[in-house]
Assembly symmetry: C3
Homo-oligomer: 203 residues x 3
């Protein structure tokens, strides 16, 4: 499997799994089939859409319409199999891979446009996590991303940082991509396994 | 009445009626006059604004500022006459006309830019329904569009599809516009009359 | 202190104080540190971001990344000192200055692009107040901007109008800027002191 194909494959898994997360929220909220599909789109393509709008770039799924198919497939999977999927443990690991990939992709897109580290880190984190935030806001739920005692966006931030520094210091784009991806995934995995969390204000 | 004038007239009615829907939610939520105007803008111009941002097009109301006047008028109508308007049955038919027109307009704009059917269908549906979703999200209410057991976005989707196929097969833009408009309106009308709804997840 | 430096100084205060308002909401909602930073960004840069997207302009903080630092500082201040800041009366006056400045800056940006008064007034009001609205929507709270019986967005609207008219009639951009700023601030100050409010629908 060459790198491009591996990248495409991972991206499709990420979109599909993110879409499932939206579809499950929709089913829980007793939305109809249309609501399930809309709620599947939000986490699957919301973060990347916001990234492209802010960077003044063409929105990625206008060209890559296959992505939309995978998002719809994730929504349908949630519609039909949500009971089974909610308790399917491997899903959170697939979600972690998707998060790590989206973070590095977002960071790389910002860096390729010549932006400095503040914008690169924000875009990486936003691509990985803003879609999930949109999902909760539209579902009129408490925003999990901001509340839950889990390491999620922080892992996306770390992945973006590792990508940026490796790319800057070693000049090897491919290596930077891999290292960023792995570090985001590993921090997220540690967070899941050891139930790590960010502090709340103790004051 | 020539076609262009008819189109403009229908569009103004759509904006005005959509704005009333936002204003009524605002009055129910005990918002002040400013809140009523903001909430009138969201359904009236929110869907088209989102469409233009995603398509990288100039936002339509920057040029067509008359639209803003009709949106404000709808908000003021809700502010002063909401009791009467809430029970005014013809409003939902005017809303159905607006929805049908916005769907076909959105689909046509995407098609004119050379996009394929997935983007055309999304843009048609989004133009007609995303503003109402925004209204509910900002009002901190359950999103009616995704929950209510009514055929609404589905009608917009059908109208976009009929427009796209007619335009593709017959090559007659005007006919495609009319057929798309009529099919969206008829499906919505059937949904209202026979209380049709999309299924929820039965699992 | 020359005008440019004074402008920059006021802008930084505005961003910092707006960010504090977001951070305080986040701490109240028991969000973690990441949530506090995100919620600080929303009011601090949300209004200007929306303005730039709608005007098809490069989003301001992609170049002016220093702004992001002030937003983060505001979030951290709320994280550590929220108890003290919530009761710190001068904050609302700093907020009023920020609001006035953001309104005139937004109006000036729209006017410089050649837009007429409807767009200029909307952009001024939006730059000053949409970020606070975003903050409340994401926090899943009732939107203060639309509900609270205070003169806030109305002051931003007045400032934008005074700026526009002065610039049009006298042709002096600097004077227009100052008069707009002062009138927005004074109306907001009168609103605070005399507890002025906009009417709700009495019907």
């Amino acid at each position: 499997m060459n790198p491009d194909l591996l990248f495409l494959f991972t991206d499709r898994i990420g979109v599909f799994v993110f879409a499932i997360s939206g579809g499950i929220v929709a089913v829980r909220k007793e939305m109809d089939l249309f609501g399930v599909i809309v709620m599947a789109f939000l986490p699957a393509i919301g973060g990347g859409t916001l990234r492209d709008l802010i960077l003044s770039q063409p929105v990625f799924w206008l060209e890559d319409t296959q992505t939309l198919g995978f998002a719809i497939a994730g929504g349908l999977a949630a519609f039909f199999f949500h009971r089974w999927l909610e308790n399917f443990r491997p899903l959170r690991w697939a979600d972690a891979i998707g998060m790590a990939l989206f973070a590095v992709t977002g960071a790389a897109k910002a860096a390729a446009l010549g932006h400095g580290w503040p914008v690169v880190l924000i875009m990486g984190t936003m691509t990985a996590s803003a879609g999930g935030l949109l999902r909760d806001v539209v579902a009129n739920e408490k925003p999990l991303l901001l509340l839950k005692s889990e390491i999620y966006a922080t892992a996306a931030l770390l992945g973006s940082l590792v990508y940026f520094l490796t790319s800057l210091w070693l000049g090897d784009e491919f290596l930077a991509f891999i290292l960023g991806l792995v570090s985001a995934f590993v921090l997220r995995a540690l967070g899941i396994i050891f139930k790590l969390s960010l502090p709340r204000s103790p004051f």
